[in-house]
């Protein structure tokens, strides 16, 4: 199966420091691909560069192809329109707006190629948001805010949904709940690139995993292969045979 998202020889730098170095990565149709690594490994820098988004001014070289089209020079708001949709780590919603306003703010173009999610579709995925529709996002719990962030990303008719650490700050019970929601979206045909610090949880839901170390890919394989990988077990799963 050909890759829907293909990242080739991607380098991201800030001044003289290189945060992501010659990374190759791909995501196929209907696949959940996870990226894991220690803090500072460059995971967020990598996926932000894939989405063309940053709060700084990084230098990005290499290729980011969405359905064969190189989008690396296209600004973030247009990549969103093309279906390459990012939910960033931390603040991913407008706190000053209600849940409903956040969801309604996203309106994909008529010819947007990705799958369309109406407001009711989003409430179907996250039923608890329906009861909080008129609540300001600043009043929501961390889990609810994450659901709104994913919901507004779905509204953008994504072809590839990029999620950066959606479990950060969530209670352990909510982590699996959010990841299971994401897995169901993939089972419905969505393609997802997931950055997840909780490798054990990521391996539960992902099809494949890339390991990132100091900005470089240090290993990759199917979830089953990576679960059996000695280095992964030692570094991320609390010892061999975990």
């Amino acid at each position: 199966m050909s890759a829907l998202l293909q990242v080739a020889d991607l380098r991201v730098g800030y001044g003289h420091s290189v945060a992501v170095d010659r990374v190759d990565l791909d995501v196929r149709e209907g696949e959940l691909v996870a990226v894991a690594g220690a803090n500072g490994a460059g995971k967020s820098t990598l996926v932000n560069a894939v989405a063309g988004w940053s709060r700084g001014r990084p230098t990005v070289t290499g290729a980011v192809r969405l359905a064969g089209r190189d989008v690396v020079r296209i600004p973030a708001h247009r990549r969103t329109g093309l279906g390459l949709v990012l939910v960033p780590e931390g603040k991913g919603v407008f706190d000053g707006m209600t849940v409903d306003e956040n969801l309604r703010l996203v309106r994909p173009a008529k010819d947007a190629p990705g799958r369309r999610y109406g407001i009711d579709d989003v409430y179907g995925v996250f039923p608890q948001l329906r009861d909080r529709a008129t609540a300001r996002c600043s009043t929501l719990s961390g889990g609810e805010r994450q659901m709104v962030a994913i919901g507004r990303a779905l509204r953008a008719a994504p072809r590839v949904l990029i999620l950066d650490e959606p479990s950060v700050g969530l209670a352990p019970r909510l982590v699996m709940q959010v990841l299971e929601h994401i897995r169901r979206l993939v089972d419905d045909g969505l393609s997802v690139l997931l950055v997840e610090q909780n490798v054990r949880a990521a391996l539960e839901v992902a099809d494949r995993l890339y390991l990132l170390d100091q900005g470089r890919v240090s290993g990759s394989g199917s979830a089953a292969e990576m679960r059996d990988d000695e280095r992964v077990a030692r570094a991320y799963l609390g010892g061999l045979g975990a």
């Binding site: 708001h77 247009r78 969103t80 329109g81 949709v85 990012l86 919603v93 407008f94 707006m97 703010l105």
Partner: protein, 284 residues
């Protein structure tokens, strides 16, 4: 002039301030942009209206849209020149750039329109009305009604439409807005043009009340800034209330004290309010 006439005069004056403030309130909250050329856009609104009526013989009501289109076109050019600075939120450079634009516009207007005082011939200014012993002109009514309508429209658009949600989103976090598929640069452009058109409209309807010079604008921009700060940044309804209140204050003050001191008195009011309520009238 009796008390009622003074009140109507104050309301018209305040509605003029409010008209000038509405665009700036939206601009400041959405783009954090303090536009020191705002007063010169007001001046241009007045002078292009005058030019269109005297040189082209256009009726006043036709000359106003001509002035709005001309100022809108100019605003597009100004904002395109400032796009990078606005996206980077380089606030200090933006202030200096808009100040420079202000001086350029004033100098350019002096070259084109001359240095003599001019009077805009408005049929509403010739219309004398009276109500309950108060005497005022049709122009006063036009200014007050226009301010109320414009604020109602702005309130509706910002609060209830997707364009308004985009503006509020960019105001809260322009970077995050990109991930919603919003082109922050385009939103800044729309808001800047809206702000400029509001200033021009204020110029076109307020200016017929007194002779105009190309040097007008700086006093108005200071008063407008006062209104925006007193109301609280981004507080639309507050802008209307403070604008009207400041107009009434100025009119009443002018009844008992020399009008030359009215601006200084308004700033004393600002100091008192900001010491007591640093966020202005805006709710915390």
């Amino acid at each position: 002039m009796n008390v009622v006439s003074q009140l109507v005069n104050g309301l018209a004056l305040g509605a003029g301030y409010a008209l000038l403030a509405v665009g700036w309130t939206v601009l400041l909250s959405a783009a954090r942009l303090v536009n020191f050329a705002h007063g010169q856009l007001y001046m241009l609104g007045a002078f292009v209206t005058w030019f269109a009526t005297t040189r082209f013989g256009l009726p006043y009501l036709v000359a106003i849209p001509v002035a709005l289109v001309a100022v809108a076109a100019l605003a597009v050019v100004l904002q395109l020149l400032m796009t990078r600075l606005t996206l980077d939120q380089n606030i200090v450079s933006l202030m200096l750039v808009t100040l420079a634009f202000g001086y350029l516009l004033q100098g350019g207007a002096g070259l084109i329109f001359g240095g003599d005082p001019q009077i805009i011939d408005s049929p509403f200014q010739r219309q004398d009305l009276s109500l309950g012993g108060a005497r005022f002109t049709g122009q006063d009514v036009v200014i007050i009604v226009l301010a109320l309508v414009l604020y109602a429209v702005a309130f509706y658009v910002l609060g209830r439409t997707n364009v308004g949600r985009m503006v509020r989103g960019v105001a809260e976090d322009p970077k995050l807005a990109q991930l919603y598929g919003i082109d922050a640069g385009r939103v800044y452009l729309v808001v800047f043009v809206f702000s400029a058109v509001c200033a021009a409209l204020a110029g076109a309807v307020v200016a017929p009340r007194s002779p105009i010079l190309t040097s007008i604008g700086f006093e108005e921009v200071i008063i407008t800034f006062l209104v925006v700060v007193l109301a609280g940044i981004g507080n639309l309804i507050g802008g209307l209330v403070v604008g009207m209140g400041l107009g009434l204050f100025t009119a009443v003050f002018g009844t008992y004290f020399p009008p030359a001191y009215s601006t200084a008195a308004a700033f004393v009011l600002l100091l008192v309010v900001l010491v007591v309520r640093p966020q202005g009238l805006k709710a915390r």
